[in-house]
Structures are given as structure tokens and as C-alpha cells.
Amino acid sequence: MPCKNRIALLSAALALLATAVAAPAGGARDQQPVLGLAVQPGGLLMQDVKLGETYDLQQVAGITLAIFNQDGQAHAYLLSTHRPSQSGGSKPPPGYTDLPDPSWFWFERTEVTVPAQSSSQVRMYLRIPDDQQYANQRWSVTAGVTGKPRPDESIALAVYPRYEIETVALGRPELQHKPDGEFGLVPSTVVLEGMHPGDWRESEFYICNSDRRGRRYRFRVVSQDEAEGKLHITKSPAFSWMPDPGWMRTREARVFVRHNLAMPVRFRVKLPRSVVLPDGGWESILLVTRDDGLTRFLRVRVPSPPTPGQEGAN
């Protein structure tokens, strides 16, 4: 077609070619190879995160973000982090809220090109500001790995793995500020040291109500099935799930906490005589649900007592 005619045609009809390959007018030429993208890890739980410390996850745990380009040409991917509630990723599981500032979790690069049928590794970093209000927090952040749009690519892929972050658990005497957010538990994890089969122990945590009005809260110890299934709560490494939720109970089934106040909640753990603590010990989850459904949870750990040979080691 002569050039002048071609220009005339294009001015009369908007020409849209979604790929660099010209297709017959009105026709679709879309029998192209399959696109594929995968990332690892798809899920991550970072616990006991200290305030003000910068963590290189490769250095502290040997973990990098691996991006797998599963199709026949190289692709550039944009790397970003987002609040789960504001991204295309999945929402935080019960008990977790958005990381207040997604830039606290970042990648060593914001863009990476992965060759065809290959993978690339990218370092991940985490730093929570050194501010006591950020202790005892459980947050989620979404990592975005998005195919960089190019004029010659009509279809791009993206994946949004979600990662969970739990900051260091500090007790009330150690804190001068209330926790960030409208509802917090202090400490967020209680460790009951030195328990043996047949023992019982009482302990407490505080509910901090920073909402504008008083709120009611109810308590429930969840089973392993519920924690891992519906609630998507990952147990802490080295611990096993406490076999029976009935071994733990709060003194009250529910409490009312006035606004801007903290209230202690006492609970008791009783171990049957006949049990044997597993290596590491047990962990249980106490769900605290506000009257509007907002949820936090307390981790309660019963570590195995040291064996006689280990007791004097330190």
C-alpha cells in the first residue's frame, strides 16, 4: 500500500495494534505462547522484629525473593510494596493489619529483568522505626511483582505475595506509649517458662483501647485446625500447637474497656499430668474480638523445660 494511502487510512480509522505484529483488519491474531510468572516465597512470617534494626533477610535467614519467568522471552518486572487493603493482593488474615508504611519493607532494586525460562533473586529488607508504639504489632505487607508494560506486549502478569510481620513483644512496664492502632494487646506474646505436666499457671495481658469510645471484647482459644485453616495463622517455629484449646481459658469470657484505657485480662493454662511436652514446647492462640469484629490475637507459649543436662549450661 502506498505510503500516502496508508496515512489516509490511519487518519480515517484509529489503528490499534496491541502487538508489534500487524494483523489483518478486523482480525485477531492471538495464538501466542503461554505467559507464566511465579515467585518464592509465596508467604513469609517474620517474628520478634526489633525496633530500629535493619534486617537483610538473606543475611539473617538466607531468604531472597525468587522471580521465575516461565515464558519464552525476557521480561522486566517492577518490584514494589503495598498496604494489603489497598492493593490487588489478598487482605490481611484476622489479627493482622496493614503495615503502616509499606516502605518499611523494601527490595534491593525496584526493577529486575529476568531472562526467558529463568529466574532472578532479589534481596529483601525490613526496618521498623525505633518507636515504642510499634512494639507488639502484627502487620501484613503485600509485595508486588508486576510485569513492566511495554508497547509490544498486550498481556502482562503480576503476582502479589503477602508477608506477615510481628514486632517484638514488650510488657507494659517496658512501654511508655500505647500501641499504634485503635486496639492492641500488651504484650502480644506471653511465655510461660518452666511449666511441667500437671502444672497450672496464671498470667495476664492488657487490652489497650485507643478507639474513640468504649468497646466490648470477647475471648476464644482456637484449635489448630481453625488457626491453620480459616484464620491462616502460622505457628511459631520450634513450637507445636497446644493439642487441646481447653487447657487455656480466660477468667472472663468478655470485658468492656473504656476508651483510651488499658485493662488487664487474666488467663490460666493447666497442663494435664499425662502429657509429654514436645521438643520446643507448645503454642496456643487466644483470639480477642472487638464488638465490631476487629480481631487481634495473643500467642501463649509453653516452652519445654530444659533437660537436666541443659539447666546449668548457661
Binding site: 495494534l17 485477531a28 511465579a38 518464592q40 509465596g42 508467604g43 513469609l44 503480576a158
Partner: protein, 154 residues
């Protein structure tokens, strides 16, 4: 063969991650890797619309989005214009504005749900409808946009 090699690569990475899953505590932090693979594939991998008249509709053949991961996933879809003429997606065809849909759902720059709770190895099919910008739009002869299909754990 290449797919097999790629599969081996993914499995090797999973095993490497598994061995480091309970690597903590180190420097006070404990890191647990859940052995989830978030992965998505789309076939066909492109859509060439061809030459169409301003304001008219083009419909794609069927796309298949596949959950290649090992957990249930939700798929979303969004679009961004990569054209040189400043076109933008919108809820109708207008000057310098194209209209992209699947079914009756308009696709814009913010992700919208494409499929929910797609099981591992499961898939979801969809077709796209493109209405070209209206007469009077800027056009240099070839314009393009990108449709992004995204996956997240359900």
C-alpha cells in the same frame, strides 16, 4: 523440555527455601517461610486487535488464566495504556479514551476481580472487549495498551 527444566528450577528453589524455613532466630528475628508458590499463567500470551474504526468494538478470543501455584488464588485484571498518543482507559469510548471490558465489567487502571478462589492447577477463562477511542482521538497509526492479569493467595 524447557518447561521441565523450569519446573525443576522451581522445585529446587522450594527445597532450598524449605531448608531455610526455620532459619531463625538470628539477630533476634525469626523467619518462617510458608511453602506457598504464587504463580499465574495466561494463554494466549498476546492479543493483536488489528485495524479497527474509531469507536467500534473488537472482541478477543478466549483467554485462559491458570493457577500454577500450590494454593488457591484470586485473579485480578487491570489495564494501562502504553500508546504514544495519551489514550487512557475509561468507562466508555470517548476522545482519547478506550473502553476495555470482560463481560460487563469495565477494566481500568485499578485491579478488578477476574476470578476468586481458583484452586491450584485450576483455571479461569475470559474474553476481552475493546471499544476504540472515538473519532477525533490522537492517533499516530499504531497504539497499544497492556492488560495485566495478577494473582494473589486467596
Amino acid at each position: 523440555m524447557r518447561r521441565l527444566l523450569m519446573l525443576c528450577l522451581v522445585v529446587a528453589a522450594l527445597l532450598a527455601l524449605a531448608s531455610s524455613a526455620f532459619a531463625g532466630p538470628s539477630a533476634g528475628i525469626t523467619v518462617t517461610v510458608t511453602l506457598q508458590s504464587i504463580s499465574v499463567g495466561v494463554s494466549p500470551g498476546s492479543w493483536a486487535i488489528g485495524v479497527i474504526t474509531a469507536g467500534t468494538l473488537a472482541t478477543s478470543s478466549t483467554f485462559t488464566a491458570t493457577n500454577n501455584g500450590n494454593v488457591a488464588e484470586d485473579f485480578t485484571i487491570s489495564t494501562v495504556a502504553t500508546s504514544p498518543d495519551g489514550w487512557a482507559p475509561g468507562g466508555s469510548s470517548a476522545v482519547d479514551q478506550y473502553w476495555l471490558q470482560f463481560g460487563t465489567t469495565t477494566i481500568g487502571t485499578s485491579p478488578v476481580a477476574l476470578a476468586s478462589n481458583v484452586a491450584a492447577s485450576g483455571n479461569s477463562t475470559f474474553s476481552l472487549k475493546f471499544t476504540a477511542p472515538a473519532t477525533g482521538s490522537a492517533a499516530t497509526g499504531q497504539d497499544s495498551f497492556t492488560v495485566t492479569v495478577a494473582a494473589a493467595a486467596h
